[in-house]
Symmetry: C3
Subunit: 137 residues, 3 copies
C-alpha cells in the first residue's frame, strides 16, 4: 500500500479568492505512483474550503456573491469579541465544506469532464495550507 502526503501553501492577494488546484492534485497523484485509490484534498484552516465545481470565472463570481449573501460579513458576530473579524469566513467554510476526496482509477484522477478542484480562501492575505493525501496501490 502506498501513501503520499504533500502540503500546498496559498497566500492570496485578496481577502476572498478561488484558486484552481486540479493540476497540483494531479501532480501529487503522479508522484505517489498510486494506480487505484483515493486522494484527500483538505484545507488545514477553518476559514477556507475545498470544492469540486466548474472552472468558469462567471460562476466563480456568482458563488462568491451567493456566499456573501448566505453568510455575510457582520460586525456583531460573537466570535469578534475574541478580537477576530472573520466570523463570516468560518460560516462560508462550513457551508461549502473544507474537503473533497477524489477517486484514482488507472493512475489518474477519476473526474467528470467539467469537474475541477478549487481552494476557496475566505480570509486570505496570509500563508494558509492544504493537505493532499494519496492512499492506494
Amino acid at each position: 500500500m502506498k501513501f503520499h502526503t504533500e502540503y500546498l501553501t496559498f497566500n492570496t492577494k485578496k481577502h476572498r479568492e478561488y484558486v484552481h488546484i486540479t493540476p497540483q492534485v494531479e501532480a501529487a497523484v503522479g508522484k505517489s505512483g498510486v494506480r487505484e485509490g483515493m486522494v484527500l484534498v483538505s484545507a488545514m484552516h477553518i476559514t477556507a474550503g475545498v470544492w469540486v465545481n466548474d472552472n468558469e470565472s462567471g460562476l466563480i463570481g456568482d458563488i462568491d456573491e451567493w456566499l456573501e449573501k448566505l453568510a455575510p460579513f457582520r460586525e456583531d458576530y460573537r466570535h469578534h469579541q475574541t478580537g477576530e473579524s472573520n466570523g463570516d469566513s468560518h460560516l462560508k467554510s462550513l457551508l461549502v465544506h473544507h474537503q473533497v476526496i477524489l477517486p484514482i482509477t488507472a493512475g489518474r484522477l477519476d473526474l467528470g469532464p467539467w469537474q475541477a478542484v478549487f481552494y476557496a480562501e475566505f480570509d486570505g492575505q496570509r500563508p494558509k495550507r492544504v493537505v493532499i493525501k494519496v492512499m492506494g496501490e
Copy 2:
C-alpha cells in the same frame, strides 16, 4: 487490498429529482468482496449532489423547496453569459456537497437505521454519472 469501481448513469425525467441509490451502493460493496473499508459515492457532474438522509417523500419535498429558496433560479447569474441557464444547479450542488464516503464493516454498509444514500439531480433530463469506488480488504 481490493478495489472495485463502477459508474451509475441517471437520466431523470424532471429537471430536479432525488433518486434513492442505497441498493446500488450495497450491490457494489457486495461485488467488491470488501469486508472492511470504505466506499466513495461521488457525482461526476457539477450540477448534482450525493447525500445521506431520510428516504421519506415529504422530507424530500421540503429539501427541494428549501434548496430553491437558498439557491434560487435566477436569470441574471454571470454564469448564464456563457449560454448556460443552470447557475442555481451549481449553487445547490455546493450547498449539499457532491459526495459521501460510507464505512464498510463486516462486509456491509455501516449505516444508521434511517440513513439512505441519495443522488440529487439539479439539472437533469440528460445522462449523468456517479462513480462508486470501494476500497478495503
Copy 3:
C-alpha cells in the same frame, strides 16, 4: 492493512448541542496503530452533523444562530405529516454535512493548529451514534 472501528454515543441535554470530539478521534487513531492513513468520522443519524472548525464558544453560538436562520424550525414542513417535528434538523444536517475524513500522518491526526472536530446535534436528548473508522498501515 489495519482497520479500527468504534462508535461514540451522545445523549445531549439540549435539543441542539455542539460537542468537541477531537480527543475521542485521536484516541481511536492511537488504538488503531495506524501510522499512515485516514479516519472517517461520520454521524449515523440524519439529524446530526460532523464538522471541523474552531473550538471557540462565541463562534459556536454564531454558527447555531446562523443555522437557525438558514434552516429554521417551522411547523409546516411536509415531513411533519409523518408525526415528526424535526424537519429543520434534517436541513441543518445537509447544510453542514454529516461527516469528515481526517488524514493520519506519522501516527497523528494531520490537522491544522485551529482545526477541531465537532459533533453537531440538531435533535438531541436521546442516544445517537457516530462511527469512527480508521484505515491505513
